[in-house]
């Protein structure tokens, strides 16, 4: 690991000033950052430790009915906050389906939004990667790429964003509060991550030195609480990143879907909001083919970036399953295997 200067600011303003210099990186829990530094994938010259900053570890209910989650709230604390989990159950389920208990106890909300791709060619410093080394090329294109992107990818990068948390958040219109040298601004999460285009090294719209201070969910997001699920196909049951995932949140009136929210994970460099499918679902009565038609709309623009055509059909099916489970109703408690698709619609585990 390359060595670095260590700075521990006392205020957000000091942190922003310290992190605005070239080569600086923010340190919160470090669960992703230290791993990348140990592998030589990144080598910041300065770490700005924000983990001791006061006031960023709170979950606040806002007067307008929304919730504001401080950037330093730990993933486990958010998922196990009973009020939060009751109002935003798909977010809690997504959090509990990610990483391991040890990592969830450390990893922060802000860090989750800024975690880097798990593309093996990004991680392997002997491989060409435009994200790690702009202009170097992309060895994933002709390599082992069955888990790579099927939406929004470019010739220069086919990586995916690995976050589970961001998938229901983007479906529920989360907003990111950031502070920079020019002051505070708000960015809809849907606009926060960038598609790769010809500059895959730029993963978010953050300017140098800008720091996430909170993530907000609007009051309206809680109206889906009775019919909200996150589902995630993994290559093993637990402690694995998504092959594909989906968050589905519905507002149901009688036998009609009044309003629908749908987003996909593991398919692109950003959590993928499926707005066309949402429009198709809104006002529709649940019938035999509705969810399949919505799933086809959600994946209409998908194309394989390598040996991963299977992910497109898998994503359609996980959308159908997520919508069916959301229609059946949010379980009383996050299931024993959070987000596992290996459960019947009634909620019974079908594998021992």
């Amino acid at each position: 690991m390359k060595t670095f200067d260590y700075v521990r600011p006392a205020t957000v303003r000091e942190a922003v000033a310290a992190a605005s210099e070239s080569g600086a990186a923010y340190l919160a829990a470090g669960t992703n950052l230290l791993d990348l530094m140990k592998g030589g994938i990144i080598g910041p010259s300065r770490l700005v430790d924000i983990s001791h900053l006061p006031g960023l570890d709170r979950i606040e209910d806002l007067a307008d009915g929304g919730v504001r989650i401080g950037a330093l709230v730990r993933n486990a604390d958010l998922a196990h906050d009973q009020t939060f989990a009751r109002r935003f159950p798909a977010v809690a389920e997504a959090l509990l389906s990610g990483a391991s208990a040890q990592l969830r106890n450390a990893a922060t909300v802000g860090g989750n939004l800024l975690q880097r791709t798990r593309c093996a060619y990004f991680y392997d410093v002997a491989s060409a990667c435009n994200k790690r080394d702009p202009g170097a090329g992309c060895d994933a294109r002709g390599g082992e790429n069955r888990l790579h992107a099927v939406l929004g990818w470019s010739e220069s990068c086919i990586a995916t964003n690995p976050s589970d948390f961001c998938v229901p958040l983007v479906a529920l219109d989360a907003v990111v509060e950031v502070e920079g040298r020019a002051g505070r601004r708000e960015i809809p999460l849907e606009m926060f991550h960038r598609l790769p285009g010809d500059a895959p090294e730029r993963e978010t719209v953050l300017e140098p030195g800008e720091m996430i201070v909170a993530v907000r969910l609007p009051a309206e997001a809680a109206r889906f609480a009775a019919h909200a699920r996150y589902l995630k196909v993994r290559e093993r049951t637990s402690y694995a990143f998504a092959v594909v995932s989906a968050a589905a949140a519905l507002r149901i009136e009688g036998d009609t879907i009044a309003q629908a929210r749908l987003a996909l994970g593991g398919v692109a460099t950003k959590p993928w909001r499926a707005r066309e499918a949402e429009r198709m679902l809104a006002g529709a009565r649940v019938d035999g083919s509705l969810f399949r038609r919505a799933a086809e709309a959600a994946l209409a623009d998908a194309k394989p970036s390598g040996d991963n055509g299977f992910k497109i059909e898998l994503a359609r099916r996980i959308v159908v399953r997520a919508l069916a489970l959301a229609t059946a109703g949010t379980p009383e408690r996050v299931p024993a295997l959070p987000a596992s698709p290996f459960a019947s619609v009634a909620g019974d585990v079908i594998h021992a």
Partner: protein
């Protein structure tokens, strides 16, 4: 760079001076305090062998910078037994053959203690398996580990009930 970190390790306040900010909590425990019960497996947060309890929460000590944990309270495997009396989780691992080679065991035990404190798994073996998935066992003693955690939890629950009564 002269750095000094004050930590409470197994109930004892320690001030440790070091000159390299790259020092992880794991390396501090093993190399500086010679508490080698905490194991270094992958050193990348994938195996759980380095699990310790920091401020009451189980974490991977390999992915924690020592310098960032100034003021933290740390519990390691060395301090869970009381003299010759093993911790109920240690007793249960022996009773249920929750190990073979033993390399992952300190991390498994610290993780199990953390899991029981978190209070989310109850008596559901599926929730125990899920909650222990951050600890790999190359010998494959998972069946015994799950039984040991369930058993230790019921022993600790009974002890807590006695204390309340």
């Amino acid at each position: 760079m002269n750095i000094s970190t004050t930590l409470t390790v197994n109930g004892v306040k320690r001030t440790i001076a070091f000159d390299d900010p790259r020092l992880t909590l794991l390396d501090l425990l093993r190399e500086r305090l010679h508490l080698t019960g905490t194991k270094k497996g992958c050193d990348r947060g994938q195996c759980g062998a380095c699990t310790v309890i920091v401020d009451g929460r189980r974490i991977n000590s390999c992915l924690a910078l020592a310098i960032s944990h100034d003021g933290a309270d740390i519990l390691t495997i060395e301090a869970v037994a009381q003299g010759d009396r093993l911790h109920p989780v240690q007793e249960a691992f022996l009773a249920h053959d929750g190990l073979q080679c033993g390399f992952c065991t300190p991390g498994q035990i610290m993780s199990a203690i953390g899991l029981i404190q978190e209070g989310q798994a109850g008596d559901d073996p599926e929730r125990v398996r899920e909650g222990m998935s951050g600890n790999l066992c190359r010998c494959g003693a998972y069946q015994g580990i799950t039984e040991a955690v369930l058993d230790a939890q019921s022993v600790l629950d009974a002890a807590n009930r006695r204390e309340v009564a």
